[in-house]
Symmetry: C2
Subunit: 552 residues, 2 copies
Amino acid sequence: MPQIKNILFVMYDQLRHDYMSCAGHPTMKTPNFDRLAARGVRFSRAYVQSPICGASRMCFYTGRYVHSHGAAWNNFPLKVGEMTLGDHLRQLGVESWLIGKTHMRADAEGMARLGLAPDSVIGARVADCGFDVHVRDDGLNAEGPEGFYDEKRSPYNEWLKTQGYPGHNPWHAHANSGIDAKGDIASGWLLQNAVEPANIAEQDSETPWLTREAMGFIAQPHAAPWLCHLSYIKPHWPYIVPAPWHNLYGPADVAPATRHLRERDDPHPVFKAFMSNQPGQAFSRDEVREAVIPAYMGLVAQCDAEFGKLLDFLESSGRMADTMIVVTSDHGDYLGDHWMGEKDLFHDPSVRIPLIIYDPRNQANATRGTICESLVESIDLAPTFVEAMGGTPADHILEGRALTPWLHGQTPDWRGAVFSEYDYSAMALAGPGYLDVSPEDARLFMVFDGRWKLIHAEGGFRPMLFDVATDPDEFDDLGANPASGPEIARLMGLLNDWARRPAQRTTISKAEITGMRGKSRRYGIIIGAVTPDELAPDLRAKITGKPAKDYR
Amino acid sequence: MPQIKNILFVMYDQLRHDYMSCAGHPTMKTPNFDRLAARGVRFSRAYVQSPICGASRMCFYTGRYVHSHGAAWNNFPLKVGEMTLGDHLRQLGVESWLIGKTHMRADAEGMARLGLAPDSVIGARVADCGFDVHVRDDGLNAEGPEGFYDEKRSPYNEWLKTQGYPGHNPWHAHANSGIDAKGDIASGWLLQNAVEPANIAEQDSETPWLTREAMGFIAQPHAAPWLCHLSYIKPHWPYIVPAPWHNLYGPADVAPATRHLRERDDPHPVFKAFMSNQPGQAFSRDEVREAVIPAYMGLVAQCDAEFGKLLDFLESSGRMADTMIVVTSDHGDYLGDHWMGEKDLFHDPSVRIPLIIYDPRNQANATRGTICESLVESIDLAPTFVEAMGGTPADHILEGRALTPWLHGQTPDWRGAVFSEYDYSAMALAGPGYLDVSPEDARLFMVFDGRWKLIHAEGGFRPMLFDVATDPDEFDDLGANPASGPEIARLMGLLNDWARRPAQRTTISKAEITGMRGKSRRYGIIIGAVTPDELAPDLRAKITGKPAKDYR
């Protein structure tokens, strides 16, 4: 019977849950993602624990909520000591390798405090959230008047230079820009340029480059089983893609925006602030959507095509038989839905993700090609991987639940709600002149029970509430409606029960705790006994006898 | 003007808030604690964050709630990476030294994962919750049929051997036992023996020994300012004290038990389980209280006398002028109040602590000898110490509030409630046949706003509620009374707001967060701009220009 030897954990960035043909997109074709879905289980109601790259990824990589690990936004460091997927798997003799993006920022201060050198084996893992690095590339070689956004040198940018692409930043000038009518650089940073083909040979663009890196890694001899986190940058912005993908789709393929004018009628202040920001304004214009979304679809189509090559490679090399394959994303993209651009808030286009899992074991045969509609969280993957590798998830640390039963056709008792968080404290719209909230209060929580979605905002704002049974498009915020009181109270109860969980009791397992019960007396801790008759004979013998001398 | 050079942070173990004459005890005399109170501020409503040694101390030493640091009970390791008082003070050039008890259990697994050797400087600090160790003695050299309770060798026990005390455990046979009428060891573990004098010369008993260690430390030359955590074992059980302290007090000095028969009438199930355990049963007997409490008072009197020697020494050596002195305890002792022995629950005898702070600076002159009735938490000490040493408390890590304003006669806006927690998951009474609750559910939270004290129990139990305005003795649990609904809801709101706090966002300060607002575009992250006109000229220049070559 085939067993799992390796795990290929593929993540795309900003890939919406519904931009796959297997997920029902009306025009988008993803034959290769569909191929995987036909051989695995597609989890149709999977949610990230934070709709932003860095915070979401730290949840995937730790198997814990943002409220537990604290790396609540991009570039908020993941604190030293937080255990990662790599740590859990190494205990099982499994290596964890990174190819691509993590958006991890190391806790340099904590590392220095503990004397962890960044170039030591342990220090490097701590700095890369538990992975050994085959290639790390966070995919944003952005450069502005005050320097580069990412202090690290981009290996992809360096590779482009070796291929003859000129200049110091071909990542921008070639991979992520076109050429305008005047022959100038048409930067992919500007949404008007999304219609241009990127000024790069298709096979030199970022997605094929990373795919080749992954194939090279997989083809290497491996002494140990591995998890390979193949983490693509795309279809994340800059929204620009080389030919032939740039015009595979056109305005006719753009699905209508899921938005309604009544969303702008007395909206929640936080929602209003996000709608009013530059991405929201831009993506509310139809011409912007018609320029950008075909490029986004082209980027997805390129991702799908490269994934097909990877599947072919795995099949021809025999690795399909012993490799668990996961396809997912760190969050979605509003693309103009709800008058929003970007991600950040909790409507489905942002917080819901694609998730397909292929399990090569025979136990999974009955579920191949099926859809699981249970409520799944991104933090479920870490324990799923531990189980796949034969381990028992450390459930005093990992907060997700292994998806193995769903893969094997079982119907376990399951969670009643998913949770997500968003910390906007470092965004301009939290500041004076906008929402003007403190760093403590600039935080949002979502609880979704499959029907009702509550968004609680700290700082004294009213909640937002959607009933997706009667309002599947999430247009009608019932949070200010007095009739919503009981639902709001019920969902706040779920949120508050969750908030009180013992998330930091990570140094002792539940079995160790129950094993301690009633044991201290056997080590001589006698509390409340008045006379020797109350003691077991062996303990009584330990504490009596003639003293050797009288010192009173 | 005198400035603070050093901090003497004295902690007793299991010293009740009301067993000092300055706190109004009817018979107990503590002239030396009173001496400190006359020169400092006595905080009369100070509460620990958990009424149990280990968990409470980890709160003092990290400045954070149990819910934040996770070391929720005795011998639950404090996880690697958790920042300590010592870490905060070392950043200011201040050394932190330990003399006595911490009840810290090192996170050996986490240390191994990060490659921290226990015998390295950093590893030793991590293993001793941030302190450099002058003497560490946790004070329980208990031994049962399955071996010693504490794996570490007791320096006090070894010292006794050097003084000629025979046997392998003079800590038990001499320091903590008497001799009975037959000439056998009368173990201090048995409450009936509390009336005996311990079989040890008074100056060899644990409290004088530790005081001498402290004086030796203080008298050493010191290159840097220091905090000395002088952490006594007493008056913690075993309840036995050498002559002349053993009969300084007698049954006539025992205050009546604060208890009422109606507390036993349909009590909360958790309270009932604790009342029914062996300490509760024993301390509900008057003859046990009359045997034990005079010994407890003798232990306190010895502590007070030794503290007097310490004060004399500080005065004669000039250290009173530049040393902040704190006297406190890790929790109280029921001593039969509320039909309870030990600590663990949230009645005042258990969760409320003595706290006296002497500040040598002139700014504190106006408050000398005064009482502060504001709600204080044990976690307030860490930031108080940071401020005393000239630092600014890292308020993204430390959850308490510096008490400096109260010491200097100011009346700041202050907290409206204190929080405490108790995790009984490792106790026998949580197990099958008793309460039978899971390790997740065997947890209690207290919120006290100065009038109303709510105890929330996880696991589906009803809450407990006391109104100390009308019921100062906490006899009447209003938690099952339907009329309490609004108060319960209000206090649960405070608890839940607290539970959602961003306690793990410890790697980035609030100033760093607000400093990030609106800055990423200056590093080239352009989101939502459609045309170049929307960009500042310098940024626009960065992303345009003639491309060097056309690769399309």
